[in-house]
Amino acid sequence: MKLNRYAIYILVGAIFIAIGVFVGLTARVFPVAASAEAAAVDSLFNFMLAIAVVVFLIVEGGIIYSIIRFRRRAGDETDGAPIHGNTALEITWTAIPAVIVFVLSIYSYQVYVTIRNPEPKDNEVRVGVIGQQFAWKFTYEMPEDDDPEVTPEVRERIKQYMIDSTLYVPLNRPVRALIESQDVIHSFYIPEFRIKQDATPGRVSEAYFTPVQKGEWWVVCAELCGVGHAAMSQINRVVVLEQNEFDQYIAQLYAKAKETANDPRSPEVGKQLIVNKYACGACHVLDDAGLVGNIGPSLNGIATRAEGHAERGEGLVGGNDAAAYIRGSIVNPNLYLVPGYAAGIMPQNYGNPNVMSEDDLEAIVNYLLTIR
């Protein structure tokens, strides 16, 4: 009789463990594992899942069994057995979870060390990640250039245009992302790479990943950053390229940056800046540049409207013409509010030359003056 009962316990336990192992081996609950780190995290998760399933089954099984087996039968007014406890059993179910979490801690620590290795690697690619309300932008290291005209000063000027709204990374090379924020806290998150790191203003944070699959995914913002937080998760893409494609991309970006540095205030440069560097499309509509945001007012026909505002003297900065209205709307957006839009939604720090340089501002103003 007694032997039978233990035999049943062991049998049920074996079934639960078998189910747990099966679930742990077969469950595919994550998006595609596109980085080397993702595989390690997924294995850890599935290992934990197997244990979790067994624990879950034991607990729920115990509850369901008790409900059925120990329900009060009709007419039975007696009490249950006066069992106050069983010290050996209690110590057991204190000790077993302790061992489990100890094992999980060690395993988690090992995975953590492998996926987060801050030691610089020889072949690593460095990219800059900058969060702003409400888009990401990405900066790249400049390739070598033996053009004698490119002095260190010129290089410094070119550097500020090595920026894009899409994150391109090469396949099978470790990437070190240096993450910053211009305003509030954002969180740099690519689900397919299983990486997430907050972009905290005032400090540079790092994230590491090695893409192992070609493809294109969203760069998500995981930390609440204001009215446009939802939009910020569907603005920027990460694209994994072959090494030669990546080199080509960097060469093109550099060539364009070099061109821009020569004529930094032209309308063409302004258009690029609006699209790539300042990500105005996160909030504004502008058909000419393909912007589709819906948080702020439309920029279509802005030049014509700006003339009207200039005549009425609304929101002008550095002059009294249409350009002054556009400039004012960028560097001091609360000066004049388009009806229906609240103060404080547009980034308030474009008046700071460290955030938006004089050249960039004028290029954007020049470009927007062409939007009639």
Binding site: V29, F30, A40, V41, M48, A52, F56, V59, E60, G62, I63, S66, I67, F70, R72, D76, T78, D79, G80, A81, P82, I83, H84, G85, L89, W93, T94, P97, V101, L104, Y109, Y112, P118, D183, V184, I185, S187, Y189, E192, I195, K196, Q197, D198, T200, P201, G202, R203, C221, A222, E223, L224, G226, V227, G228, H229, A230, S233, Q234, A343, G344
Partner: protein, 568 residues
């Protein structure tokens, strides 16, 4: 100072009937019901906000909201109200009503202070709601800087939010002092600390956590107000401040706050399970001590909310402490199943909700271990997996326990039984609706859907729709409960002293108890969970007049003690 220790007698005529719940009263039973009533109002209000959230999320595009700001306000207020104006005061209400009764006392140690602590809450609630008049807070209930700072949240609602939480925090500290003094100093003769009901143990552990952690909330809010109003720079990086300072101090309070919301719920559970399964609580000491262990560990794990912002090395110790919490929590789960094992389970509404807690809370506990693991959390942090996890803990845990407690003690508080059929409908709808709402969120999070967004990638649509359907079922579920309470208050079956044949002291007096609680000093049962023992049966048979002197583990001495005749 001197005034609070003097017993006070009101000189003005006391309001009677329902009016007394809207007036100043120092009777702990009135105050307890005031807490419960006020927080239930906020439960309905916060629930309404949650329904709006779920309706917005039915489709990937914006449907209900004019912009993200309106949506941010919704979840900010939903979170803040549910935590600070519903769960915390609701459980404080149970504590106020039950602790003095369970300890055989006339009142709390400081009745006046008790009333004062309660009356800080209605103004706090009004200040919170007044946010809508001046531009409400929309930086989330976590209110991270710089988003909640003066530059990015120029709405006065954010300031009112901080002031309101300040009041609630102060109220909570005063309440905790009162509970600890009452529990440590005012146990009746014959009740050692190891014979206290487990709800009292849980309240003691909770109050200790409040004393340790809540001052940090007060301090953090003070700095927030200074930054917003006086132009200081604690959190602003431009002037040398640090946004992570806010995260550290906020979570130093807000993680323990989870245990402030869960431990008393666990206390309720121990009472309800034991009474309705007609069996002693299994492993009394382990359950009692695990409350203290959870309380202690709960104060050193706050960093796990910052696994994506904390320095790399600092994440590891927080992972270890967080993992450890699974151990005392597991002890409680297993002990409760041990309590059911071999019982004679009665499927009352109270018991159903308690079983609902057991079966759902375990999921919240297990997903907590996943989130404790740094590499896994890096992927899951701030996704819907976290939303699912804490709703399984706070709804599947605390709210189920609160309903279990309401069904269990409503007869004591009102003198009338609740209708069991309506109660079972309420349970079934809540259970199904809850599971349908929050279970799919695990998968949304695993796939990478971030939280706090009102438009989302269409690939998440199906699971979100399922979740919204669940939320609507939960909204419907409240109706039978409200009808039940309204009808039963007037026409419910009279409850009598002890409808559940329970052994704790609150059941030895009439329902509702007289104002002074006990006509004569009560004799506590030697074992508050001695169901199925001869001593327990004798105690019940005598209506609480006879207690056998036994130790907590049921070794009876020879002679029963009888109350000396007092002339009745």
């Amino acid at each position: 100072m001197a005034t609070t220790v003097q017993p006070r007698t009101a000189a003005v005529p006391k309001p009677r009937g329902i009016a007394k719940y809207f007036a100043w009263s120092i009777d702990h039973k009135v105050i307890g019901i005031q807490y419960i009533g006020l927080s239930f109002f906020f439960f309905l209000f916060g629930g309404l906000l949650a329904e709006l959230i779920r309706i917005e999320l039915l489709t990937p595009a914006a449907s209900l909201m004019v912009d993200g700001g309106a949506y941010n306000t919704l979840f900010t207020m939903h979170g803040t109200i549910m935590i600070f104006l519903f769960v915390v005061p609701m459980l404080a209400g149970f504590g106020n009503y039950l602790v003095p009764l369970m300890l055989g006392q006339k009142d709390m140690a400081f009745p006046w202070l008790n009333a004062f602590a309660f009356w800080m809450l209605p103004p706090a609630g009004l200040i919170m709601l007044a946010g809508w008049l001046v531009g409400p807070a929309q930086a989330g209930w976590t209110s991270y800087f710089p988003l909640s700072g003066p530059q990015f949240s120029p709405f006065d609602g954010q300031t009112l939010w901080a002031i309101s939480l300040h009041l609630i925090g102060a109220s909570s500290i005063l309440g905790a002092v009162n509970f600890i003094v009452t529990i440590l100093n005012m146990r009746p003769p014959g009740m050692s600390i190891w014979q206290m009901p487990l709800f009292v143990w849980a309240t003691l552990a909770t109050s200790i956590i409040i004393l340790v952690a809540t001052p940090f909330l007060a301090g953090g809010l003070t700095l927030m107000l200074l930054d917003r109003l006086a132009g200081t720079s604690f959190f602003s990086p431009a002037t040398g401040g640090d946004p992570l300072l806010w995260q550290n101090v906020f979570w130093f309070y807000s993680h323990p706050a989870v245990y402030i919301m869960v431990l008393p719920a666990m206390g309720i559970l121990s009472e309800v399970l034991s009474v309705h399964a007609r069996k002693p609580v299994f492993g009394y000491r382990f359950i009692a001590l695990s409350s203290l262990a959870i309380g202690f560990l709960g104060c050193i794990v706050w960093g796990h909310h910052m696994f994506t912002s904390l320095a790399s090395w600092a994440r590891i110790p927080f992972m270890l402490t967080t993992m450890l919490i699974a151990v005392p929590t597991g002890v409680k789960m297993f002990s409760w199943i041990g309590t059911l094992w071999g019982g004679k389970i009665r499927f009352t509404s109270a018991m159903l909700f308690a079983l609902g807690f057991l079966s759902m809370f375990v999921l919240g506990g297990i997903t907590g271990v996943f989130l404790a693991s740094v590499p896994v959390d890096i992927h899951l942090h701030d996704t819907y997996f976290v939303v699912a996890h804490f709703h399984f803990v706070l709804f599947g845990g605390s709210v189920f326990a609160i309903f279990a407690g309401l069904y269990h003690w409503f007869p004591k508080m009102s003198g009338r039984m609740l209708n069991e059929r309506l109660g079972k409908i309420h349970f079934a709808l809540t259970y199904v609706g809850f599971f349908l709402t929050f279970f799919p969120m695990h998968f949304l999070g695993l796939e990478g859907m971030p939280r706090r967004i009102y438009t989302y990638d269409p690939k998440y649509e199906a699971l979100n729709a399922l979740s919204t359907i669940g939320a609507l079922i939960m909204a419907v579920a409240v109706v039978p409960f409200l009808v039940n309470v309204a009808v039963s208050l007037v026409a419910g079956k009279p409850a009598g002293k002890n409808p559940w044949r329970a052994l704790t002291l609150e059941w030895t007096v009439s329902s509702p108890p007289p104002e002074h609680n006990f006509d004569e000093p009560p004799i506590p049962a030697s074992d508050p969970y001695g169901y199925g023992t001869p001593e327990g049966a004798a105690y019940l048979a005598s209506g609480g007049k006879v207690a056998l002197p036994v130790s907590a583990h049921g070794h009876a001495h020879d002679q029963p003690i009888e109350r000396p005749a007092t002339g009745d």
